[in-house]
């Protein structure tokens, strides 16, 4: 049986992962019953959390970011396969042209640009795919600050993802922001924040909330900036039921 002083003394070693396995297991067991040590370990981990940033960054290979997003979202990769050959061919041509024209420095810049363009292209393909597959389109008109706009939802009921378009809205009043909501039988669930920084429509893609019941509708409200949790507090601009 270890004294609490032993755990206090070894908190940093535990958080850094340098304890022997037996000691680490003893610490694990202690943490289950010690709020103080748990809180302190979280604090130490937060302080040391930046330490890996000492290592230099590595530029990802072209297409890696897109693969991350696809795999995290656990989507089939059929479109990626279809595009891999032309994208790879385009990449080769661009890289070869870049090397001929501007040497190695230019090639690196082209690689970076290519990665960015490929990511944008993948996002655009994804957006279009949802619109193409959408089995339901919902629309609501809305008016605020003397301007008329709309909320349009393209719902893909196979992948349970939506493309949401908001248009015609002015920037949110100072101290407030637009908030998208999912409506479920048991209440409203916070969805994406909508940032209107530039003129023109805003579009985003969203999955359904992780937990809870079936989504039966959607709404748009204006919320205080400080309201990041809980039910809507501001006026409702649009309300759509499936």
């Amino acid at each position: 049986m270890r004294s609490h002083d032993w755990f206090i003394e070894h908190r940093t070693d535990y958080a850094a992962g340098v304890l022997e396995r037996d000691d680490s297991a003893t610490f694990d067991a202690h943490l289950r019953n010690c709020d103080e040590c748990r809180a302190e370990i979280r604090r130490i981990e937060a302080e040391l959390g930046w330490l890996p940033m000492a290592l230099a960054p590595v530029a990802p290979q072209p297409g890696f970011r897109r693969r991350i997003i696809q795999q995290v979202l656990e989507r089939p990769d059929s479109r990626a396969r279809r595009w891999r050959l032309p994208a790879g061919l385009a990449a080769s041509l661009l890289l070869a042209g870049g090397a001929w024209w501007a040497g190695s420095q230019g090639t690196r810049e082209l690689q970076t640009q290519l990665v960015q363009q490929e990511t944008r292209l993948a996002a655009l393909q994804d957006t279009l795919a949802i619109m193409h597959r959408a089995s339901r389109v919902m629309q609501a008109s809305l008016e605020t600050a003397g301007r008329r706009g709309g909320l349009v939802i393209f719902a893909d009921e196979v992948t349970h993802r939506w493309n949401v378009v908001v248009h015609g809205l002015p920037p949110a009043p100072p101290g407030r922001r637009y908030q998208f909501w999912f409506i479920r039988a048991d209440g409203m669930v916070r969805g994406a924040e909508i940032r209107l920084g530039q003129p023109g429509p805003v579009m985003f893609t969203t999955g359904m909330p992780k937990t809870g019941g079936t989504v039966i509708g959607a709404a748009l409200t204006i919320e205080p900036l400080a309201a990041t949790d809980g039910p809507p507090q501001g006026p409702e601009l649009a309300h759509l039921m499936l």
């Binding site: 070693d13 304890l19 330490l51 290592l55 960054p57 970011r65 991350i68 994406a192 900036l225």
Partner: protein, 214 residues
């Protein structure tokens, strides 16, 4: 590390303005990003992947020296944050420290699974990248997080060489204290002392970064 001639190495100089120049974001955006991830906003995931991937790859590749394994680890880190994202109040760490921690832990898991094979000596690469040049160089001045990188690097550089070595073996190679003693041929007590002093100093220095997120 040749590329860090004039970083804002002193955390006290790390003003909010410097953070913005470096592409870092403030707590408000971190909260927004976190809430959008909870809300399953895929654009938020795209933003996070864009910002964090080079740093996570840097950690994984420096530890694993294997391109494919490094990509796997980074994938796992993003999957972990997507699956386990919680409201701010439930988690003391920012998104970036969380991603870095997952990446490091998963890399250590893989290193430990390699025990039947000879571990590649990584000291040269892990010497805080003094000579290392990333395989594909990034635009340092404009790359998000470069200021934090410079400060953490400076914090490590301020440690005596023998402390840097034990931190390196412990933190980035996943060795226990007795394994470090065996590797370096020094008494266990010496390892414990060096680690304790080094981590205490690092905690003090890095605590100044807690307001910086992502």
């Amino acid at each position: 590390m040749a590329k860090l001639e004039s970083p804002d190495a002193d955390p006290r100089r790390a003003s909010e303005g410097a953070a913005h120049r470096a592409g870092l974001v403030g707590l408000a955006r971190e909260t927004s990003l976190r809430n959008r991830l909870i809300a399953r906003d895929e654009q938020a995931l795209v933003e996070l992947v864009d910002l964090a991937t080079p740093w996570l790859l840097g950690v994984a590749q420096a530890m694993l020296h294997d391109h494919d394994e490094s990509e796997d680890v980074v994938m796992e880190a993003f999957r972990a944050v997507w699956e386990n994202i919680t409201p701010v109040a439930a988690d003391h760490a920012g998104l970036m420290p969380y991603l870095l921690r997952v990446t490091r832990h998963r890399s250590i898991d893989r290193l430990r699974r390699r025990q039947h094979r000879e571990r590649k000596h990584s000291a040269a690469v892990l010497e805080w990248n003094r000579q290392a040049v990333p395989p594909a160089e990034l635009n340092e001045a404009g790359h998000p997080g470069w200021q934090v990188h410079a400060q953490v690097h400076a914090a490590l550089e301020q440690l005596p060489a023998e402390q840097q070595m034990v931190v390196q073996l412990a933190y980035f190679e996943g060795l226990t204290r007795s394994e470090i003693a065996g590797r370096l041929g020094i008494p266990l007590g010496t390892v414990k002392t060096r680690l304790r002093i080094a981590f205490t100093r690092l905690r003090t220095t890095l605590a100044g970064l807690k307001e910086w997120v992502l």
